[in-house]
Amino acid sequence: MSAPAAAAVVFDPDRGWRLHHQVSVRPEPFGALLYHFGTRKLSFLKNTTIVEVVSSLADHPDARTALRAAGIDDAEQAPYVHALSVLVQSKMLVRKDCEETS
């Protein structure tokens, strides 16, 4: 059990991403709570800007565009890119053009 994932998905901000269909987003005063019904993991979005980004990812061709649309200039994107990559690692986000396997 718990063998290392065969091919860990790497977050590429120049591609399109969306929430996994088993992820539920609950708005909170500090941001939002995410819960993945498949992995049964909980995550936190710690401000409302990242909530806006995550919620609108699917509407944009790639993550960079979603970040810019949320008012985050390219020079300021690093912490958000990091946050999104963490969400990709925990399978909260998946590639738009990928079939979901779990």
Binding site: M1, E28, G31, L33, F37, K46, N47, A70
Partner: protein
């Protein structure tokens, strides 16, 4: 405009309480085929006032509206309710995930196959010894074999990642590696939690709770091997033993702020370890629904206020352990604004040595005439078949 706003730490947010629990524990029945000596809900006999199927479904509807992600269903033994599977299906169909705790009595091969087919149900098999000898002393004769049978059935049905749920005691703390091996054997995940002096646990806590040396042993094991072990964030009283963050998880008391308990008659308590009038926030049926109790109960509002460090205010570890577990203090007769009975700085021991008034239980569904300590285990029988014949529900 787009710089990251400073936000309060999540821990602080959580202590102020959320508009809805993240998850909650829901004891569906006080009926149980076992009589574990440390049962924190003093279960045994069904309560005649237990919620009907319709009332349970209404609560699930409310949880869906509040976006409570999942419920931890327990009891008693929840699977002895004839409508148990119906309620599980109803909850998952309404986007409320289900994790349920069971001693395994109803996890037949057929049930295991059904569970394996669902993405939204998680199963937790309770086991308090890695051997029958250690387990059955606490949970009753035959209970080890019953739990293992359930794990076998789940594994054979292809159910992925069941949980083995262990309450850490003086007698099983040396078996942590064995539990881990057992979990690995069945493709399961180990979950270990703290023994609370709640319910019948109050009667046996003095003899069963880990010694101070064992607390350190447990902490070291968690730091070294706990990465893939779940703890229900229940060991925050140990935080002071090492660097902040050494223990995985949030490790804070979420009572009335991010978690709570719904009992079989619809009473809402601050947490699963606090079934007592002192921690009763209200009743779902008589106090205008769960949402109203959660948001407006005076007890919950009080719990979301900044808490006084009291006697612990001079201690450098207060930030780490926050004074420990409220229920553990209350049921051992210690003041709520003082140290935890298992305080790792040693402040609990002298407090326990003083004259204490342990609170009498206000809710008790134990069989055979109520709680008494110690319970003569040899007299117990576990007759799963009897339950089919005369269902307590």
């Amino acid at each position: 405009m787009t710089t990251m706003q400073p936000v309060p730490r999540l821990v602080d947010q959580f202590e102020l309480g959320l508009d809805a629990p993240i998850c909650l524990t829901w004891e569906l029945t006080y009926a149980c085929n076992l009589s574990c000596v440390h049962c924190l809900s003093s279960s045994g006999k069904r309560d005649p006032r237990e919620l009907s199927t319709r009332q349970c479904m209404d609560i699930i509807d409310e949880l869906e509206r509040m976006q409570v992600f999942y419920v931890n269903i327990g009891g008693g033994e929840p699977t002895v309710r004839p409508d148990f599977w119906e309620l599980v299906d109803y909850a998952t169909a309404h986007h409320v995930g289900v994790k349920f705790s069971t001693n395994g009595v109803r996890i037949t091969p057929a049930v295991a196959a059904k569970l394996a087919a669902s993405d939204y149900v998680d199963v937790q098999i309770s086991l308090d010894g890695a051997t029958a000898e250690v387990n059955d002393e606490v949970r009753g004769p035959g209970s080890f074999a019953m739990a293992i049978r359930a794990l076998e059935n789940l594994a054979e049905a292809g159910f992925k990642d069941a949980k083995i749920s262990v309450v850490v005691t003086r007698h099983n703390v040396d078996q942590l590696d064995d539990f881990k091996a057992l979990a690995d054997q069945y493709g399961a995940t180990l979950r270990i939690t703290r023994l609370r002096p709640s319910g019948r646990g109050a009667d046996v806590w003095d003899e069963l709770h880990p010694t101070p040396a064992q607390q350190v042993q447990l902490y070291d094991w968690l730091v070294a091997r706990g990465e893939r072990v779940l703890t229900g964030d229940s060991f925050f009283h140990l935080s002071g033993l090492g660097e902040p963050g050494a223990l995985a998880g949030l490790n804070l008391c979420g009572a009335g702020g991010v978690v709570c308990l719904i009992d079989p008659v619809g009473d809402v308590y601050a947490c699963p370890f606090a079934i007592h009038d002192k921690f009763l926030a209200g009743n779902i049926l008589s106090d205008g629904g769960f949402d109203n109790v959660w948001k407006n109960a005076p007890l919950f509002r009080e719990l979301r206020e900044p808490q006084s460090a009291g006697a612990c205010s001079g201690c450098g570890h207060y930030d780490a352990c926050r004074g420990g577990c409220m229920a553990a203090k209350f049921f051992t007769g210690l003041p709520l604004d003082g140290p935890d009975p298992e305080c790792v700085q040693g402040y609990g021991e002298p407090a326990l040595a003083l004259e204490r008034n342990k609170p009498k239980s206000s809710v008790d569904h134990s069989r055979s005439g109520g709680r008494k300590a110690p319970i003569p285990l040899k007299l117990l029988t576990i007759p799963p078949k009897k339950f089919c014949n005369e269902s307590p529900v």
